[in-house]
Structures are given as structure tokens and as C-alpha cells.
């Protein structure tokens, strides 16, 4: 199982990008994904699904994730999630 060991961020607040903050999360809790998006109604579920998929690829079962989406396409969102996770699982 992958482990987020420290708080990490990736991405920007620019249009078509997403800003991700990931942190270890509380003991005994699972995935806590907070989502803000300019297209929340239209794509909120799709964004959440992509975030969960990337977390799963890294076998991360416990983390707190905050996503501020500025209309990022899936491939951008995936990239930002992956970058944040890689930064977060890296030991100091």
C-alpha cells in the first residue's frame, strides 16, 4: 500500500489547470476528497472518479485531498494528481 507521508501540492490555479493539495489524513480514515470546481455541476463526478483512479494506481487508501479545479481536462487532472502523490509519498 502506498503511503502519503507528507503534505504536498501540485498544479496551479490557472485556467485549464487544477491545483492539488494532498496530506496523510487521519488514522483509521479512508480517502477524503474535497472538490472545488468551476464546472462542479457538469463534471464534478467525473473529476472525483479520475482522482480516485489515480489514488488507486498508487494503492493509496488513506489521504486527504483537496482539488481546486479550473476546468482541467482529464489528462491534466491525472498529471496533477500523480505529481502531488509522487511528491507526497517521497520520504524526506
Amino acid at each position: 500500500m502506498g503511503q502519503i507521508v507528507k503534505k504536498a501540492t501540485a498544479g496551479t490555479m490557472e485556467s485549464s489547470d487544477a491545483y492539488i493539495e494532498i496530506s496523510p489524513g487521519e488514522e483509521g480514515e479512508g480517502l477524503d476528497i474535497q472538490l472545488e470546481s468551476v464546472v462542479y455541476h457538469q463534471f464534478g463526478q467525473a473529476i472525483r472518479k479520475v482522482a480516485e483512479e489515480v489514488l488507486q494506481e498508487f494503492s493509496i487508501e488513506r489521504a486527504k485531498v483537496r482539488i481546486v479545479d479550473r476546468g482541467a481536462l482529464d489528462c491534466v487532472l491525472r498529471a496533477r494528481m500523480e505529481t502531488a502523490i509522487r511528491r507526497g509519498i517521497e520520504e524526506e
Partner: protein, 294 residues
């Protein structure tokens, strides 16, 4: 057909996702100078995903990797070669040894990734005095090297001179690079025109580059793409002349004549070759509707 090559910063989604809409024949996804040192990982992953999921249509993709003097370039290649961009552009190539170093690493990577040998082609970016002086050796160091590309900004810094709009200071480097590339039988691409707001200057600069023999030219601004495309497209006169040559050649062949001339000028093999290239380009342009903007 690669008239224009547009640099796009590798960590800027808003630019990358629109890469195919900006009119350039090729885009250069930049992991080097356009990316801050602590965002190298982010850009690498973003560019990888863009290549994986985005359809860039008829637009070729080139990835500028980080320099051989960094700890990033191998990681860049590992991450991006599986997606098979059209070319990899290594920066600050100074010698044939630099090419051989990359070549060696790529060969290993190709085996690992089950890619055919020499699948990954290179466009070598020459932007140091040493690189210019070694241009022919670099061009002929490996069959992977498909083109030389001049980087005027870093070069002028290395030459201890000012980069100007007129470009007198890089005239020698331009000619030397074209000559080396042509001697090795590969293409040559010119440095970007750097004044984004000078809409006239780009025309002159591109026309001058074409007159020296460059195949095409890079741009750092989408505003320059149209001018570059127009300057490096064959003119109607050139196309008509090319067809005329092919007709004369055909007629000579049918009549079994060896030496051919057109209006008193001998038509030899290199002229025929150029005519063929011109016609191929004219046909490619026709396919995209003769359009310089979409």
C-alpha cells in the same frame, strides 16, 4: 512538412492542450528552459499525459529534454520515449560525443521498451560556440540525428555579444549550421525571432533564414507562426517551375535522352530532387486546404 515549430512551456496546460490549434506544423513541448527547476517532475508528467491522451492531429510533437549536464535528461527520456513523440530535442549539444551519449542511452531504452532500434529520432539543438564549430560532426554522429536546430539566444551569450533583431551576430552560425546539416544530408531549422510584438521583423527574419537554406524556423510566440508558414511554403511560381521540370524529365525519359535542359539551363539530379520536394510540399499544403492558419 515542418515549416514552423512552436515552443510551448511544458508545465502550462492551457498552452499544451491547444497545441494543435495554433497553426504550427510542429510543437516543441519544452521541459528545459520554460520550466522552473522545482516543477521538472510536474512538467514531465503533464507532457507525458498530453502525448498519451491528446490528439494533436497533423501537428508533429517534439520534446525538448533537459541538458546532459543535469540529472533530469535520462528521466525525461524514460518517461517520454514510450509515448513516441516525433522527435526528441536535446539542448546545448556541443560535440559528437554528446550525441553518442544520448544514442547509447536511447539504444538501451529502445531494447527495454521493445521499440525498433533507432526508433527515437533527434533534432540537435546547437546553441554554444563549441556546438556550432562541431556542427558537421554532430550532424553525422548518428543516424538518429535528423536535423540541426540553431538556438540564437544562448549562442549570443556564449559569444559575448548582443542578440539583435537584425541578427548580424549570428549570420556566421546560421550559415555554418545550414552547411553542416546539408553536408550530412539532414534538415536545418532556424532560431526563433524573439521580439513578440514586432509583426514586421518576423517576416524579414524568416525570409532571410529561408534564403540561407533553412528548412523551417522555430517560434516562441504563436503570433509568428503564420509568417513562418507563409515564408517557408513554396510560392506558386516555384510550384509551377517544379512541375515544368518534372514534365521535361518525363519527356526526356520517354525519348531516351540523357542530358536534359529547360530554357537553356541544365537539369541535373539535385534540381530534380528539389522539384520533387516542392511538389510534395505543395500537395501536402493542398491537403490542408492551402491554409496557413488552421
Amino acid at each position: 512538412m515542418r515549416r514552423s515549430m512552436l515552443f510551448l512551456p511544458g508545465n502550462t496546460p492551457n498552452m499544451i492542450i491547444h497545441g494543435d490549434s495554433l497553426g504550427a506544423d510542429a510543437i516543441i513541448l519544452d521541459l528545459e528552459d520554460a520550466v522552473a527547476p522545482d516543477e521538472k517532475d510536474a512538467a514531465r508528467i503533464l507532457v507525458r499525459n498530453a502525448l498519451q491522451y491528446q490528439d494533436f492531429g497533423r501537428c508533429e510533437t517534439i520534446v525538448r529534454i533537459n541538458g546532459l549536464d543535469t540529472s533530469e535528461w535520462q528521466l525525461d527520456l524514460q518517461t517520454l520515449c514510450p509515448l513516441q513523440p516525433d522527435f526528441i530535442m536535446p539542448p546545448k549539444v556541443g560535440s559528437a560525443e554528446d550525441i553518442l551519449k544520448i544514442d547509447h542511452y536511447l539504444s538501451q531504452l529502445e531494447t527495454q521498451l521493445h521499440l525498433p532500434p533507432n526508433a527515437v529520432g533527434l533534432i540537435a539543438l546547437l546553441e554554444t560556440a563549441l556546438g556550432i564549430e562541431n556542427a558537421f560532426a554532430i550532424a553525422s554522429a548518428s543516424s538518429r540525428v535528423k536535423a540541426l536546430f540553431l538556438g540564437g539566444e544562448d549562442l549570443t551569450a556564449d559569444l559575448h555579444c548582443q542578440r539583435t533583431a537584425k541578427g548580424e551576430e549570428i549570420r556566421y552560425a546560421r550559415s555554418r549550421l545550414v552547411c553542416a546539416a546539408r553536408a550530412a544530408g539532414i534538415d536545418a531549422y532556424d532560431t526563433p525571432f524573439t521580439d513578440v510584438n514586432d509583426d514586421e521583423g518576423i517576416w524579414e527574419d524568416a525570409q532571410f533564414a529561408r534564403s540561407l537554406g533553412f528548412t523551417g524556423k522555430a517560434a516562441i510566440s504563436p503570433r509568428h507562426v503564420k509568417a513562418i508558414n507563409q515564408v517557408f511554403s513554396p510560392s506558386e511560381k516555384e510550384i509551377a517551375y517544379a512541375y515544368e521540370i518534372m514534365e521535361v524529365i518525363q519527356a526526356a525519359k520517354e525519348q531516351g535522352r540523357g542530358a536534359v535542359s529547360l530554357r537553356g539551363k541544365m537539369i541535373d539530379a539535385p534540381i530534380v530532387e528539389r522539384a520533387k520536394q516542392t511538389i510534395a510540399m505543395a500537395q501536402a499544403l493542398q491537403e490542408i486546404g492551402g491554409s496557413n492558419y488552421v
